[in-house]
Amino acid sequence: MQETAAPPMIEVRDLTKYYGDFPAIEGISFTVNKGEVLGFLGPNAAGKTTTMRILTGFMPPTSGSASIAGYDVVDDSLDARRHIGYLPETVPLYTEMTVEDYLDFMGAIRGMSRRQRRLRVSEVIGICHLEEYQSSLIGKLSKGFRQRVGIAQAILHEPDVLILDEPTIGIDPIQVVETRNLIKSFGGEHTVILSTHILPEVSMVCERVIIIHEGRVVAIDRPGNLSERLRGTERIEMDIRGPVAQVMTALRNIRGVREVTRTGSGDVVSYNVESVHGADLREQIATLVAQKGWGLLRLQPVYMSLEDIFLRLTAKEADQP
């Protein structure tokens, strides 16, 4: 037993899973504290679902360990599972049941009493905006509503840990926004892990991101810190009116500039200046352009989006033998 003040809600240590000879995940370690929303980011087949299936007790790891709320997912599987609400990627639902009956059944097998179920089922139907469909057969619902039913069953028993595998996939944009807000609202009280390959989603919803690629963790950090850390170079974009060759030379001669590229031609040309990390050349460039009597029409620093980071990280990994 750990005696720290607030033990992590989810603790994963050296998790490895082989399917035959194929390693789905290798040596994954991370912890998630209570109330945190963690994003699991990676391309398809990176090992996101495998990790989630191990956490939910659906299958055991080949080696390594994982615990939920202090319970080992293999040795105290039932206790660990009691603390989990899980939405698998395929949103498994009994199509021949009504929404209400399905939720009631899911509550019952998670040990909720009849009275708790009566209260909570209508509550989550409200939270997930399913009122109109509560007596409909699940098989007749559209994809978006099925997804909501899936989320409703995951939060039904107010679990400490919510594990959502691609919760916003296949639903329309308005519902995506609603779903994200819903997930965000779970943070604080519940601990949430959600997997996705939609990058902006992570910066919108998650406090921390794990990027995994080919079964290995390539980065864990806050979305903001990640862009900070990975910004080896600074980039500035600008539109300048002036003689192209002279502008290029002048820009190249500024201290700290590593590379200048240009796009477009004619009167106004766009330039892209890459400089060493930490150097902010915006003022220098503005002064230079003013001194030369050219026209500065735009000057803009470029921050790396999560997308760039993701591509850079996964590409780097892929380059290695």
Binding site: G57, F58, T95, R110
Partner: protein, 237 residues
């Protein structure tokens, strides 16, 4: 235990909400009634239900797999098994719940045949012993047939495969006893003991033999055990 009953209740409700339940009951009642009428229409009719009990084993060997085929195969196909196996429910509770539901479903097809018994008591004076033991035998036979069906259903995501495999196994168990006559010796004895029909005939005659009870119960428990194992093995793949 509570989880078992929750699952059993859900499956039973699902079964009776589908038209399949009533079609199965209607088909069985029609066949049983025909067999009953032809058995008491002879020159010296006996006031027994043996006439429909004995052919019922074959009918049940065909109907039980139809009821059990979806129970685990469909869960695998829909992916709901993942939700069930990640809920705080033990694997054997899942299997037992499905078993009880299937048993209730299959035994419910026997209910309309009670009117045949009523007819017998109305027009004759039947010996109630063989009637009760006959029903007991058929219930025990159902348990065995369902356990075969469940095991098959746990091994595949395809319902048709599950049904065909279990029908095959059940029919083999029904006719395997006939091999006794030409095998003889130890093998003949083994085949006779394995035969699901030999153990049923005593019940139809009104004899409740512990041998037969033990046979059906052991058979059922062993296959349910294998089903739990098969479910568990999905975790290790």
């Amino acid at each position: 235990m509570k989880n078992t009953l929750t699952i059993a209740w859900k499956e039973t409700k699902t079964y009776f909400a589908s038209p399949m339940a009533y079609i199965i009951i209607a088909v069985y009642t029609a066949l049983a009634s025909y067999n009953f009428v032809s058995s008491i229409s002879g020159v010296l009719p006996e006031a027994t239900i043996r006439g429909f009990l004995l052919p019922s084993t074959l009918i049940f060997a065909l109907l039980a797999p139809v009821i059990t085929m979806r129970l685990l195969a469909e869960e695998q196909k829909l992916g709901t098994l993942e939700l069930l196996m990640t809920a705080p429910v033990r694997d054997y509770e899942i299997v037992l719940g499905k078993f009880l539901a299937a048993l209730a479903s299959l035994v419910s097809t026997l209910v309309p045949t009670l009117y045949l018994v009523l007819l017998l008591t109305w027009f004759g004076s039947p010996d109630m012993g063989p009637i009760l033991s006959g029903y007991l035998g058929l219930i025990l036979f159902s348990m065995a047939a369902i356990s075969v069906g469940l095991l098959a259903s746990s091994l595949t995501g395809n319902q048709i495969v599950a049904a065909v495999v279990s029908i095959g196994i059940l029919i083999l168990l029904l006719i395997i006893g006939e091999a006794e006559s030409y095998l003889g010796g130890v093998f003949g004895e083994i085949v006779r003991q394995l035969s699901i029909t030999n153990h049923f005939e005593d019940f139809a005659r009104g004899v409740i033999d512990t041998h037969d009870l033990v046979y059906y119960l052991t058979f059922t428990l062993f296959l349910l055990f294998l089903t739990v194992r098969s479910l568990e093995s999905r975790r290790w793949r």
